[in-house]
């Protein structure tokens, strides 16, 4: 019975991944309903909330890119909230405030290091705008990004809208090349079936727009997030999206709202980032299971399936890899996975080059390394995530770094 159940879940997970990609292709080509109705005349007031921790000069570049937005300057503002950075991030914020006078830039600082989610909530206190856009402080935004995001709110039940996140450094290393392909396919294909039912399960925190009243409604839950008393400050984007859906609003990714992020260039940083994401997925899965009846009654079946099967896929992926390594240890090293990865990589890099030349990957063969990465991620990330749920560490900005910097700052 157990093996049958295992294979059944595996098939379902495969379906939800492979089939979703295929559906994404079909829907992109032939279903106009997957795209939200956009009203570019709708120009609500917007607050761009930018929590920041140890980003240095990047903060300045981020604000600079926002200042060039094609949106009425009197209708949007930037609220930069420093989360007790130990580098010169706050100075860069102030400089941006001085330099970009065409828009309103406000800065604030947390009293204590509180994490991204609470920094957003703190910044929210300063805002009175109708639409709140939460962004990452290491991203560069397309001038049309704000307009594209707000245009989607013309649909009255639209609660949250995300943008497409591109990669700024696609050719820094093999790892960045792989991430470029993965990001592109995730936004342009995988999320499309979710767009169709306005039920995207995770809008990236890099570019996340939400109605103000909705965010205010969710804010107490964000602040109260904890895991047996340990505050949770990771995965706020997934949490916000999930909460939006549960409150009966739609969620959507507008791939015309673009921003570019710098992805990890080394394996260790990527691993930490992925571990953080995996923890969020697991945490979200527990939340889904805890409130499953509510999900079943309130949400579209497509949403429930995605919310349940995506994390189950991660768990089953671990079991599949363990089974494969014990029953046929060298199968992954055979030519079929490599050829498959290379073929997918070749097609996607060609598509990226054609439709998003800025992210063009110069070495398509680099995607072959995805076979090894998928093995590592399936094998290690899920058990590690399950066993480190109490970790409040962001991962990519370590405490050691913080302490050393603090020491320097003090001196």
């Amino acid at each position: 019975m157990a093996p049958i159940l295992f294979w059944l879940i595996l098939v379902l997970c495969l379906l939800i991944s492979v089939v979703k990609y295929l559906m994404g292709i079909i829907m992109r080509l032939s279903f106009p309903g997957t795209k939200a109705k956009k009203d570019y005349t709708y120009e609500p007031t917007v607050s761009v909330l930018m929590p920041c921790f140890n980003e240095g000069k990047t903060v300045y570049e981020t604000i600079e890119s926002i200042s060039k937005s094609n949106y009425p300057n009197d209708k949007f503002e930037v609220i930069a909230q420093d989360d007790c950075s130990v580098d010169d991030s706050y100075e860069w914020m102030l400089k941006a405030q001085r330099d970009f006078t065409n828009i309103r830039v406000r800065t604030g600082r947390n009293e204590v290091n509180s994490g991204k989610a609470r920094s957003v909530c703190n910044a929210l206190q300063l805002s009175t705008a109708e639409i709140i856009i939460s962004i990452d402080s290491d991203c560069i935004f397309h001038p049309q990004a704000i307009r594209e995001l707000t245009a989607c709110f013309a649909e009255p039940r639209m609660g949250s809208v995300g943008g497409r996140v591109g990669v700024r450094n696609p050719n820094d290393s093999v790892i960045t090349a792989i991430q470029t392909v993965v990001y592109y396919s995730a936004f342009e294909l995988y999320k499309i079936p979710e767009n169709w039912t306005r039920s995207v399960c995770c809008i990236s925190g890099c570019l996340f727009a939400i109605r103000r009243e909705l965010l205010l409604e969710i804010e107490p839950a964000i602040r109260a997030r904890n895991w047996f008393g340990i505050p949770v400050n990771q995965g706020e984007d997934r949490f916000l999206t999930h909460q939006t859906l549960l409150r009966g609003y739609g969620t959507y990714i507008n791939n015309d709202a673009l921003c570019w992020t710098t992805v990890p260039t080394t394996l260790s940083v990527l691993f930490k980032q992925q571990l953080r994401w995996r923890r969020s997925i697991v945490r979200d899965f527990f939340f889904t299971l805890k409130t499953l009846p509510q999900h079943v009654w309130k949400l579209h079946p497509n949403t429930v399936l995605t919310l349940v099967l995506t994390p189950v896929g991660a768990l089953v992926g671990f079991l599949v890899v363990v089974t494969a390594l014990t029953s046929d240890p060298l199968a992954w090293a055979g030519p079929i996975p490599l050829i498959t990865a290379l073929a997918i990589g070749a097609v996607l890099t060609w598509v990226i080059k054609k439709y998003s030349a800025k992210e063009a990957v110069t070495h398509p063969l680099a995607f072959g390394a995805y076979v090894a990465w998928s093995l590592v991620s399936s094998l290690f990330l899920t058990p590690l995530a399950l066993c480190t749920m109490d970790s409040a560490d962001w991962g990519t900005r370590t405490k050691e770094q913080q302490e050393v910097s603090l020491g320097n700052a003090t001196s």
Binding site: G229, S327, P329, L330, P383, C387, T388, D390
Partner: protein, 370 residues
């Protein structure tokens, strides 16, 4: 003294009591959380160490089998083993084929002998026929010209005789005249006429003789149909010999081929009898075999010790020896890597039958120190 009811307490006291209750509840929840977190951390540490241990052991096992060259994988062959039964069936079929081939060979042998005998008889006729032809040709070479001379002479004689016969017609006329004149008696006349007739008759005979002689000359000096008949006979004789040569050749080749096939089958059967499947098929007792990959060939030596280990590769004990090594190639699945590998089978003498069920055994020495 009884505790007064809360409602009867002053307002400050009530607020303090609520705050105290809340504080107590928070402390209780905090304690509960701490307990859960502590248990979770202990569990997580144990699980992570187990996972880490599993990964280290897995990597060690993989590395060990990548470099070790003394392992062998025990193989249990049952009496009803498909390969053994198939082997046995093929063996019986081969023996039957040998018997059939032997019968065929005998038939072919006797057939070849018969054909050779016939050929020898035909070949013996050939020189006699040739000698007769030569003799006749020699005779004709002598007799032919002589007969030709005689023919010419006969022709001349006949010409002369013809002239004389022309004169005889006048003599016959004179005889008749003399008879009519009564110069001679009728008897004399008849005698003379008979003599004349005889002369004519002799001439006719001479003419016939001349024609016959001409024929004889023709026979002796040119190639006639009878000579040709003799030559035809000679050609037929040679053709028959040639046909026999071909038939003998074919039969001898077939014989050689069948003999070789018999040898090959004998060889195959001899080899088959050295196969573990044959031993398994005909052997009455349980036999122990093991698959040895070619890379581990150096350790597969007759008489060398066989070790079985409790934990895959450690805590090993000697469980038997290598009895014999089978030459045929076998293919098997690597017990750890699960890849197709080539090697051969060995037979083991095992003191502990349970070791035949182990995933691997080790030949020659313990794989690690203990």
């Amino acid at each position: 003294m009884a505790t007064p009811p809360v409602d009867s307490l002053p307002r400050e006291t009530k607020v303090e009591a609520v705050a105290s209750e809340t504080k107590k509840a928070a402390a209780k929840q905090s304690l509960h959380y701490k307990l859960v977190i502590t248990l979770y951390r202990v569990f997580a540490i144990v699980v992570l160490y187990l996972v880490l241990g599993g990964i280290v052991i897995y990597a060690f096992v993989m590395g060990f089998y990548a470099v070790n060259s003394s392992w062998a994988a025990p193989v249990i062959l049952s009496a009803a083993d498909e390969k053994s039964l198939d082997f046995r069936e093929k063996l019986v079929t081969s023996q039957q084929t040998i018997e059939d081939l032997k019968v065929d060979t005998k038939k072919l042998d006797s057939g070849v002998a018969e054909m050779k005998k016939h050929r020898a008889a035909l070949l013996a006729l050939e020189p006699e026929l040739q000698a007769a032809i030569v003799r006749e040709q020699t005779h004709n070479q002598t007799a032919g010209p002589e007969l030709a001379t005689l023919d010419k002479q006969k022709l001349a004689d006949n010409v002369t005789t013809q002239k004389v016969l022309a004169e005889l017609n006048e003599v016959e006329s004179n005889v008749n005249k003399d008879l009519a004149a009564g110069l001679i008696t009728q008897g004399d006349a008849a005698t003379q006429l008979v003599a004349l007739n005889q002369a004519k008759d002799a001439y006719t005979d001479n003419k016939i003789a001349e024609v016959l002689l001409t024929d004889s000359v023709l026979d002796k000096t040119t190639i006639g149909t009878s000579s040709l008949n003799v030559l035809v006979k000679q050609a037929e004789l040679r053709s028959e010999v040639a046909q026999l040569d071909v038939a003998i050749n074919v039969a001898e080749k077939q014989l050689q081929e069948e003999t070789r096939q018999v040898d090959r089958l004998h060889q195959a059967i001899t080899t088959a009898k050295q196969s573990p499947y044959y031993l398994n098929a005909v052997g009455g007792q349980t036999l122990y075999f093991a698959f040895v990959p070619y890379d581990n060939r150096a350790n597969a030596v007759g008489g060398s010790a066989v070790y079985d280990c409790y934990l895959n590769m450690i805590l090993c004990r000697k469980v038997g020896t290598v009895k014999q090594i089978f030459p045929g190639e076998e293919q098997a699945i690597h017990p750890i890597f699960k890849t197709q590998i080539r090697g051969f089978l060995i037979q083991m003498n095992l003191d502990h039958a349970e070791s035949a069920k182990s995933k691997t055994v080790f030949l020659g020495r313990k794989p690690v120190l203990f």
